[in-house]
Symmetry: C2
Subunit: 298 residues, 2 copies
């Protein structure tokens, strides 16, 4: 069992979906990632929040044993995101983004090395900065977003050369590679550097690349999706959490890690914010993994 | 091993995709269904063509041992469809439809009974007519389309009450049930009558309902989709073909049947018309099924 270090955003979200509205709830890529990963292995969170960050949100993470010694509190307000989901709910409409203290985020890395590192969706310049400071012993994975793909492609390409795994969604993969076909896209991304690539397709599941091999998984079928926010980050968190727990990166473990990612993400979307994840346990995750196996086997 | 009877369209298609253009090629729901099913079990085709129907197309079906004694030749021209695929190629843009002899199609049923029956996408009035004439011993399945869902809902509902299985695509399922969520939609469809429902999602795979149980499968990952025409019909053909071959309708065989449907449909789209299906064999299908199993297992 190895620790994961995650660098990313901790945010206060306001989300609207056909199922309701939540104001000022707990959000951020690193929050979802950490919480999901904590079901599998110890997690150290590196992020920044403002002075207004609710103490209660901290206790939510602490309850799961997440190491918050790298959670910096800066003068100013916490990063806020406001979004809305409609129709098939596959894409969030961003209504407002206030970067606040996140604007000047410069991750303070007090470690010299770590076993597993996840660089959540932050400026690739910062991702490179972290990669320059930390020696990674086992696996480094990163996420990104359309904004960096369009505006910071050079830096992003440098990140891709240095990481073992890329986790991104279908639209990002298409934008990045200019390939409509995701099998072509995933192969192209692997040529940028990483030997492992996972493309998340929301309700349509995922496709993955592992050293020349392709995997594909459906999503866990749900009757109600309350709020897709954080699905991708909790997918990555549980996937990499499982790998770090096993501390085994072979192909079978990689496939199983994606199944865990699928299952934990399916819980995330069943309520707003981290609400549903706070209700579950490793036993509940295992149970759904077994169900997922049954309903995909032939 | 039981015979399947299929009632549907045999057509002459003209198709355009980013990979090229094919004029006057072999098409039609019953053609694709029969050809795919013939890899598994004997097939009897009931359809109508015009006097212009190329003899060569008949030999294509005869080569696979498909019983064409129910293929009526009428005065006039064969049903023609012209379509175009662009972008993600999930939906065909219909450029032209000439029903010709298909307009007056009234299936001539010389049999009194059959083991397996597939009612391809035809007027639900005709589907009801066939159901009234034929005693089905093992399984009857049907397809439909947006046109009948909108304009002949009452007749369609009568069909649904009489069939064991419905096979339709995601857009049709949503239109039919007014449910965006496909798990809800599939359950609702089962309440219309059939104990088995399969919703095809094109490149996103499928979701299936079997007597209260849900299954979900990804599509077989392909780098190039030349022409999606006939994918759904060859999916249904190989799925029901496999069931008829085994003559066993238990849940495990149902799941395996969907896997065969997925695999054969993946061949269909690799070339225009029936071209790719004409190159393959049961051995090639088995090989891809094994690969599909590997790349979806965890």
């Amino acid at each position: 069992m190895s620790e994961i270090v995650v660098v990313g955003s901790v945010a206060i979200d306001s989300v609207e979906s056909p199922f309701g509205k939540q104001e000022e709830c707990f959000g951020g890529s690193a929050s979802y990632f950490s919480y999901a990963a904590s079901f599998f292995t110890p997690v150290k969170l590196i992020a920044v929040v403002g002075e207004d960050f609710p103490h209660y949100f901290k206790t939510v993470l602490q309850e799961r044993g997440i190491d918050l010694s790298g959670l910096e509190v800066q003068k100013g307000k916490t990063f806020r995101w406001k979004g809305k989901y409609e129709g098939d709910m596959n894409v969030a409409e961003t209504l407002d983004t206030q970067l606040n203290v996140f604007q000047q985020f410069s991750p303070i890395i007090k470690l010299e090395s770590c076993d597993y590192l996840f660089l959540a969706n932050i400026d690739p310049r910062l991702q490179l900065d972290v990669l320059g400071k930390l020696k990674i012993k086992r696996l480094v994975a990163s996420d990104t977003m359309n904004h960096w793909i369009r505006d910071k492609r050079d830096e992003l390409m440098q990140v891709f050369e240095k990481v073992d795994m890329i986790v991104l969604n279908d639209m990002e993969a298409r934008l990045l590679t200019d390939e409509q076909n995701l099998v072509k896209a995933i192969k192209k991304i692997s040529e940028y550097g990483p030997s492992k690539v996972v493309i998340k397709k929301g309700e349509h599941g995922s496709i993955a690349f592992y050293e020349g091999n392709i995997f594909t998984f459906p999503a866990y079928p749900l009757e109600e999706v309350y709020d897709p926010t954080g699905a991708g980050d909790s997918f990555a968190g549980s996937m990499i959490g499982y790998l770090a727990k096993q501390d085994n990166l072979n192909m079978n473990e990689f496939a199983k890690a994606i199944a865990y990612g699928t299952v934990v993400a399916s819980f995330t979307v069943e309520r707003f914010s981290l609400e549903r994840l706070r209700e579950i346990s490793t036993a509940v995750i295992e149970e759904r993994l077994q169900t997922f196996r049954k309903l995909t086997r032939f």
